[in-house]
């Protein structure tokens, strides 16, 4: 019995210690960001790897998510003669929820895991320690550019995902199923609000997810056990923790933003 309690206590303490390390890490990361104004080239390179190289998966998934929404929405709405609301359905689901959330989940799998593995390997091969020996701060040189690049890329990716999804829905609804093109857009425009839906939904949510996803990815890489197995586990933890954090945070943000609507 006491052995079990001791195990529970040790587990809880380890979790809390990790949370504390993560928070301190985040503060140090923010402190290192100001250095980047002198070295914009570092960020450009990272935006290329986390943003531009994530474009194919974001474009293709966005297209198919929008097409499925258009198809399913049509099948269910046509029974009520309400297929004219298809534009509203596709746009609101993408703008408010699916765009930022699915883009963040894909980002965690495509870019977050790569960030963790890269930083973890740097730690395992003692590159980070070498930098410290040479009086180069790895926070400034390695971690902060990756974090900031991801922070910039996430809202852009979410916006692209949403826009492509709406075009996919348009393609299925108007080109394939024969919904009137004018109705599709005008119903959408009548019900999607710029500040309530686009700013609250895509912009604020994806900024929040960008912070969380990149913080977790960079921290897991930095905090990894310096072994091959440790890097593998850290990569898995990045994807799992980011997905859980994004979905949980999405509920909180939705509850705060769309309470009155």
């Amino acid at each position: 019995m006491s052995g079990w309690l001791q195990w529970l206590g040790r587990y809880a303490l380890a979790r809390i210690a990790r949370l504390g390390r993560g928070s301190l890490f985040f503060l140090r990361l923010l402190g290192a960001l100001s250095f980047l104004s002198n070295r914009p080239g570092l960020i450009v390179k990272q935006i290329h790897s986390v943003g531009f190289l994530s474009l194919p998966i974001i474009l293709v998934s966005g297209l198919f998510v929008g097409m499925v929404l258009g198809l399913q929405g049509y099948i269910n709405l046509v029974d009520f003669g309400a297929e004219s609301s298809l534009g509203t359905l596709v746009a609101l689901s993408l703008v408010r929820e699916l765009g930022p959330v699915v883009a963040a989940l894909l980002y965690a799998g495509r870019a977050g895991s790569a960030l963790t593995a890269e930083i973890g390997l740097m730690k395992a091969t003692e590159q980070l320690s070498c930098m410290e020996m040479m009086a180069v701060d790895p926070f400034r040189r390695v971690l902060a550019p990756r974090f900031l690049a991801g922070f910039i890329a996430m809202p852009l990716l979410a916006g692209i995902f949403t826009a492509v999804g709406i075009l996919g829905g348009y393609f299925v609804a108007v080109e394939q199923l024969g919904v009137d093109s004018g109705t599709f857009w005008s119903q959408m425009q009548a019900s999607v609000q710029l500040e309530d839906d686009v700013i609250n939904g895509v912009v604020i949510k994806s900024i929040a997810f960008g912070v969380v996803a990149n913080w977790i990815a960079v921290f897991e890489g930095y905090d990894t056990l310096p072994t091959s197995e440790g890097i593998g586990r850290a990569t898995t933890r990045t994807v799992v923790n980011t997905s859980l954090a994004v979905l949980g945070l999405d509920f909180v943000l939705t509850a705060l933003m769309f309470r009155g609507i």
Partner: protein, 157 residues
């Protein structure tokens, strides 16, 4: 590894795509013209019952959207609902004796305010009040009235 030039080029393409996506979301998907309503002139109208009218519902005249509902309140004196309408300044020639009624789009659709023009030569200005109003049709009351008239008919037989 890509050279700096191609690197910067790809990042430029990526950022431009992202901005274009947001531009599309703002212009094409959401109704950016709704921002113009905020600058419109304000007119109030009192109704006995506004049914399910909500803030941001459209205000139309002859089916054309001319503004938006920007506020709903209760008059403390006579307990009527006061609806504040913001009318696009483009439509500044609405006669003062225009009437406002709360209508429903379709059978169960969202409710909106419909304006009927009157014949006066003066036009509504900022802060004016629409005097002729017609309340929303409340489905329960309609059914209630129908049931009463039917039972009254039965008794007459």
């Amino acid at each position: 590894m890509a050279t700096t030039k191609t690197l910067e080029l790809t990042v430029g393409v990526f950022v431009a795509l992202g901005l274009a996506a947001f531009f599309m979301l703002a212009m094409k998907v959401s109704d950016i013209t709704s921002l113009a309503d905020e600058k419109g002139y304000r007119v109030t109208a009192s109704f006995e019952n506004i049914g399910g009218l909500k803030v941001r519902a459209p205000v139309t005249m002859a089916g054309v959207r001319v503004g938006r509902v920007i506020g709903i309140d209760i008059d403390r004196q006579n307990y009527e609902a006061v609806v504040i309408l913001s009318i696009n300044p483009k439509y500044d020639q609405l006669p003062v004796d225009s009437s406002a009624s709360i209508l429903t789009a379709g059978l169960l659709g969202e409710q909106y305010v419909g304006l009927e023009p009157g014949g006066a030569d003066n036009y509504l200005k900022d802060g004016d009040r629409v005097k002729l109003t017609q309340s929303a049709m409340v489905l329960e009351k309609l059914i209630g009235r129908l049931v009463t008239s039917m039972t009254a008919g039965d008794k007459a037989k």
